[in-house]
């Protein structure tokens, strides 16, 4: 991947700064773990360097980073052995598990990961359901169904204003 090296390098670093927060938050939303988000974060930007996509617009770039982050997060969790196995000598350096600090955290911890992705794209990134469908390669009806399931699961929180998931 050696095309227009100088220009691409500068663009890559610019995109790293611009989309660092988006990628990290989405990875954390999906996994609810800092160590997983760290891994996924690096993977996403290294993929960008490896694939060198030409973005037609900022919206296209933003969508690409969302899509690849979700892909990397799916891949991270796909193998249950992978996600659970750490060498013993590394265990002492592992961060403590994220603890549910609030009712919101408890609610989010209880959602299925793929529902959390939809929640994040909808409530935080502000994507519409057709846009989320496009990003995730799902039908719009499937995205709406997931949002409906989320609202059902978060009903207490939404209705009672706070800590009922704890």
């Amino acid at each position: 991947m050696k095309k227009d090296a100088g220009g691409f390098n500068a663009r890559a670093e610019e995109l790293l700064e611009r989309y660092a927060g988006l990628v990290y938050r989405l990875a954390f939303a999906r996994t609810r773990r800092r160590d997983a988000a760290d891994d996924i974060f690096q993977e996403v930007f290294l993929r960008y360097v490896a694939k060198g996509p030409d973005f037609e617009s900022e919206e296209h770039a933003r969508a690409w980073f969302c899509r690849v982050t979700v892909n990397c997060a799916n891949s991270y969790w796909r193998n249950p052995f992978r996600r659970r196995t750490e060498p013993l000598e590394a265990a002492e350096h592992l961060p403590a598990p994220e603890t549910a600090e609030s009712g919101l955290d408890a609610c989010l911890d209880r959602l299925f990961p793929e529902l959390r992705v939809v929640v994040h794209l909808y409530y935080y990134e502000g994507y519409s359901t057709p846009e989320i469908a496009g990003l995730l390669g799902k039908k719009e009806s499937a995205v709406r169904m997931r949002l409906m399931r989320v609202r059902r699961q978060l009903w207490d929180y939404l209705e009672e204003g706070g800590d009922s998931c704890v």
């Binding site: 790293l16 660092a20 990290y24 796909r78 193998n79 992978r82 196995t85 978060l154």
Partner: protein, 293 residues
Amino acid sequence: MFEHDYRAKFDEIAPDRALVEGTRDRMRKALSGEKARPRRLTRRGLVAAAAAAVLTVSALAAGPTLWQAIRDDLGSRTSYATQVEAACEDQGVRIEAAQALADGRMVRVYFTARDLDGNRLDETTQISCSLMRTDRDVWPYCLEGFGPEQLPRLTQVEMLVDYSALSKPVEGEWTIEIPLQTVESEHFSISLALPADLGAEGSVMAQSLELSPLSLTLVCDQDTMYLEDGKTIPFITLEKFTPTVVLKDGTVLTPTYADGNSWWATWAFDQPVDPEQVVSITLNGQTIPVDQS
């Protein structure tokens, strides 16, 4: 309320500066053509490499290499796998199932994906499988990962491919139905109180164990997971109750946590075990004798 709280919560989430700078350094090295330092292969790395090999080979050719890759990945579990014949095709992409390994809790399906019209598949193609319940009147929803309570059949394969201006998303419908032959499991009723997590109230009653040559599953009584108000659930992380399994010859096995939910957890054996050789299972310091008679 929720949206406001959610946004406030995630406004506080950001990558460490050290992570960003470390990533920038790795990007620069990659762009300059410098070889990345080889990663130390832990077991985690080895497993990931094996899985990637299967997918890569699958995309290239469904020949003898594929079967060897599957056998290598299955290892000593090969004898429990069954060959399956199922295929689907759309948008010039053909998916063919090859082999399946399943018990009452876990399933692993090997399949090939080939692009008949070009080279849209590569090593970055993400392929994930979901298990869909057939009782659609309950939840028309795909369960993620392994191990719903029952495995009627694998019904959906999802393919996700990175896209760019040069590689538009491939949209289509790929549905493949794979009847599974599951390895039989032994079911044991137990009555064991497991303490809820620190900071949570109460305990949860474990009510059964499911033992197959491939995995061990702990199932709790869901009725004991609700406190008297009918809503609150004693938060419990079943993963932490790693069981130990003792065989007749004295061997002690510690299976690896594979999957679970709030009321069940499955641990997989590294090597298949003969359930008839199991004499006891210890959970949370309490030993449960296994009577096979």
